[in-house]
Symmetry: C3
Subunit: 332 residues, 3 copies
């Protein structure tokens, strides 16, 4: 999808967020607004009563066509902290098993007056398709689609970097591992470039990189020594063993020796480099336990910030939809 | 079950609804009260805060022994809009797998002080059995039992007809397709006759009609041309392929040619005839896509009205139970 | 685990409950406080609005590694009556299937700012392990672990006894059946002795008793006639057929004849003896239907009281955690 099309689909006529599908099409000001809004929610989790009434009486439906505890749970928590009602739709037992099409199922859910759908799907582009066909006023949030995008994960990573490094300017960020199968990496590369870091790098064997990866705006490295040199942030990717259908790797052991983040390989980066990972981690496969649990690791902070960032995205998209509805009604 | 027994089980000593199991036994005044109450709730879904506090602090347990996303979700939404707490009891993983009987399970749920059970079961009569054995004060709502009844679906269809046609008097309503396996059809025929339409028709091959179907109060037709002539409402039934154990049909293709609702066959009805379907639809099996999505179709409206109708049934049954309890306490 | 270690883990520096893992380590005053607190909640279930705002804005996560409808549902109801938000984490579909360790999963859940975990696990000691590793401020409640303990079940049984017998002093309590596989029995024996009954008895064949069972503080009997003589309370245990891997019994029929509670064998106890069972009952296996449903049975009362007792444990543990946090902050 073109950047213009991605922009038009995600923003309302005033340039406010109304769906959140992809980092593509969103500019630096909008990504910064998401981070600033998340900041305002970050303290809610520490209050005695962890609630704000922004989405009271709204219905948020979690449509997970792929299983996920972590992402579904943080979206559920984010929606509940905003005082929304949450529906978890179990797709495998749903009417789709009776031969109902995705579009029919969505129209039915819309007819039930849900206000927002959080969608995870194994097919790239499914949330876009839904956003194009959903009726006005209903917001779609992408919770991960195929190999395409995982924009809320990218934004919580941006939030983590800004919170621990202060700004994006001048930072060198290395993304290490299975870039080929990673929707997280695609969204992160776009977000980092939009927010203006100095350099985005990918560190991986050729077999785990997409063709023409440079065109995404990254420098390519094939060794940790070179790729981590002078890095301020090291983002490790999960080795998606379940997605590797062909023998792209000689062996897990060899992969770990060359691309795993160990106490030794972390030395190549700056001494205060952040260690990040979208989770769940494979200890001893792509990251050493001591590093995952070490002083430079912010892996659990990422999970924690994920709630505030998702609260920001949910509340901004809902208000973009409400604003648009009011504009349309005023025009009549 | 006799009409008198059905009436006594469903109504309290003042004639108010206390369980909702079956259209049988309920008179026109009571069905009209359900529709009027649904009217008062229909606007709640359009408010910014979709909540009314009628069932605050009450516990509604969804007991689904048969999977269903659509019906379970609309009941859950209806209960949440009434501010109830909702428990979804997953029966397959429940203690019944440890050999606990249905009756023991229910007594346990009652002991947990649930106020209402919404029950779907593959056995005809299961919700009646439960209503007969549940302790005073607890309301049972039938969400579909075997081939027997699906009374909330019938009532949302009645609501749809009244909302779009203004009244029931003088209407000809054709119900088309697999009447034999349809609990929806049984409940609709009873409701339409109780509410006083001019004529209820069934249109189907003999193999998909119950024996003595005329005794339910319908006229039988075997062609769309005759059955749809002068019809104000056409209700298509889902072809329950998963329930057909024997070869009751020559082929799906032949069924569609003779009993499918296409742009052509819809011409037999009045030009402003409503097209209805309980969903999920089988496009190209019992209904043409263009008709399902066409100007006369109110299929998605049915889903939407379903929430208000279920709110009406839940709140009326709960207040019938509370009223009865107060009467019994006053007598002591 | 030693009694001292159990005490230190479960209590904060002021001696208040902060985790609830095991009856061991808790003294009579603390168990009595739980029962008194449950008393104050017992009436909430009879109010029109079954809610108190004690845990408003807190998140209680149910982590059930073993399926259980009854226990999970009563914990969910208890948490909702305290106005908490409840997350049900389905472990089999969770990230543990991606190879994530229990500890990593918990750290992630903690990072999501959950305030309390209710844990059921097939491994003895799992909730203790979690309590030892969880971050300060988060409470762990044991909902049953292996053959080890089921302390909330024991406390609801204590509540039932106190409510129906007035006090513990002077009572003879017989626990009958498969003590070997029963975590309930272990917790009950400890609680009964701590609360000061006259005599705790176990009645079972040798093959269904742990070695050195006397060391738990019980008298051992092998016949109902002797074991029930002069008993004030008879607690029947479920015959855990699914856990019996070896032929510990000649036959179910013979077991029932010797150790089943029938109208005949109940005659051996005092005429006003209470009949109790943790459920779900096996009718005709360890208890006769007429006895389970008879005048002396308080089996369904146990279920009902379970909600108030779990409300007591949840709210006490949460306030023990909050108090400790305030003390630690004041010290800084």
């Amino acid at each position: 999808m073109s950047t213009t099309a991605d922009r038009q689909l995600q923003l309302n006529s005033q340039g406010q967020l109304r769906h959140f599908l992809n980092i593509n099409g969103l500019d630096r000001a909008l990504l910064t607004e998401i981070l600033d809004t998340a900041d305002s929610f970050a303290s809610v989790g520490e209050q005695a009563v962890k609630k704000v009434p922004l989405l009271r009486g709204k219905v948020v439906a979690n449509l997970f066509f792929e299983a996920s505890t972590r992402t579904r749970t943080t979206f559920e928590l984010a929606a509940k902290r905003l005082s929304a009602d949450v529906l978890n739709i179990n797709i495998s037992t749903s009417a789709t098993s009776k031969g109902e099409s995705l579009k029919d199922m969505l129209q039915n859910l819309e007819a039930m007056a849900c206000d927002m759908f959080v969608v995870r799907h194994s097919q790239s582009g499914a949330p876009h398709f839904i956003a194009e066909h959903v009726c006005p006023g209903v917001a779609i949030i992408n919770a991960g689609d195929g190999r395409h995008a995982h924009p809320t994960q990218a934004m919580l990573d941006m939030y983590t970097i800004r919170r621990h490094k202060g700004q994006f300017e001048g930072l060198n960020v290395a993304i290490v591992g299975d870039v080929l199968h990673s929707r997280v990496a695609r969204s992160e590369i776009k977000a980092l470039n939009t927010l203006g870091v100095n350099e985005v790098r990918v560190v991986a064997p050729k077999t785990l990189l997409p063709t023409n990866v440079e065109s995404l705006g990254v420098k390519v490295f094939h060794t940790m020594r070179e790729g981590l040199a002078d890095a301020d942030v090291v983002i490790m990717l999960r080795l998606q063993r379940e997605r590797m259908q062909t023998a792209l790797l000689p062996s897990e052991k060899e992969f770990y020796q060359r691309y795993g983040l160990s106490r030794e390989s972390l030395q190549f980066a700056k001494p205060d480099a952040l260690v990040m990972h979208p989770g769940p981690i494979n200890r001893g496969v792509e990251i050493e336990s001591e590093v995952a649990d070490g002083a430079q690791s912010v892996i659990l902070n990422q999970v924690n910030y994920g709630i505030a960032v998702r609260m920001a995205v949910l509340s901004m998209a809902m208000s973009g939809q409400v604003a648009e509805k009011n504009i349309l009604q005023a025009k009549r």
